[in-house]
Symmetry: C2
DNA sequence: AACCTGAATTAGAATAATTCTAAATGTTAT
DNA sequence: ATAACATTTAGAATTATTCTAATTCAGGTT
């Protein structure tokens, strides 16, 4: 393999290879170069809740040989090892989220952006009664509406 | 068009064509034969939360000329007119639900069945704090786990 | 009753996201 | 070094859904 190393890639200061690899290793996964890049990209773009496609494009700037299949493989592995969550909104492409705290998602129907809403104190789904006999292992809350920026726009018009 | 009328189709007693058509009309849609069949099938199988495919298969027994595209068209129309909700769980095929009361969905990860969980009294998503400035128009709650029947099975084993 | 217009339906092609496959490459333990 | 196994890769295959263009249908006119 010849040295195709990209010309000086910008690595944001808050993402350190070592730390990313350590987290991957802690989860029980071997920290390969690809997993490291994929997870790193996701951590850097957590706010955007990127799709596999978007992660692929970004990962390619850091590691040009990476393939789409690998991005999917890595994401699947990260999900299985509880480092990453999938976010499903309608039938749109799956988005990925490295925030493993229990939280809700809000989709702005005007601009399409996705926001994390912290969950209030109670870990129970108060408001929703779980019939006895059902064992709930996971909860998912998605909301839709208009974000502050888009609401503003509408008023101005 | 020759008379292809199917040999005696069983129409469950609790679904009356008139009532179904009336609801479609009330929603502002013209109650065509296809919409009537699609909505009727969905009402009869609400518990199963069927996919477009499953609805198509069932609808075909009542109206053999119906096409998949029409099933999608009808479902889309019903969704737009607030007679039906889409249910998205993972990236699996969209399921349809004619229960328009606000409620949560529970997916049994063992048998794959989907259940409706009624919402308790409060219409607010207590437990979830919505940051000010965000206007929420829709909420969706999905839970996963094991249903009573499957839990039983596991114990027996 | 034929006629017009727009809506609805249809079959089949197209698309998009994801999964699968088989070969190549990399890694770890012997 | 070598075997054994995991990971990556390109590209093909799959799946659910949407699109397209032609046809049929329904309701309101002449």
């Amino acid at each position: 393999m010849k040295d195709v190393k990209a010309r000086t890639v910008f690595v944001p200061p808050h993402r350190e290879r070592g730390a990313v690899d350590a987290r991957i290793a802690e989860s029980g996964l071997r920290p390969t170069a690809q997993r490291s890049v994929v997870y790193g990209v996701l951590l850097d773009h957590a706010k955007e809740h990127p799709t596999a496609d978007e992660i692929f494009i970004q990962a390619k700037t850091e590691k040009p040989e990476i393939s789409m299949a690998t991005v999917y493989n890595c994401l699947d592995a990260l999900v299985k090892h509880h480092l990453v969550k999938q976010v499903h909104l309608d039938r749109a492409a799956t988005r990925y989220c490295p925030n493993m705290e229990e939280h809700a998602h809000f989709l702005c129907e005007t601009c399409g952006e996705v926001w994390d809403f912290e969950i209030a104190v109670k870990p129970r789904m108060s408001g929703f009664r779980v019939p006895s006999g059902f064992a709930v292992t996971q909860r998912e809350v998605n909301m839709r509406g208009v974000c502050p920026a888009c609401a503003e726009q509408e008023v101005v018009r």
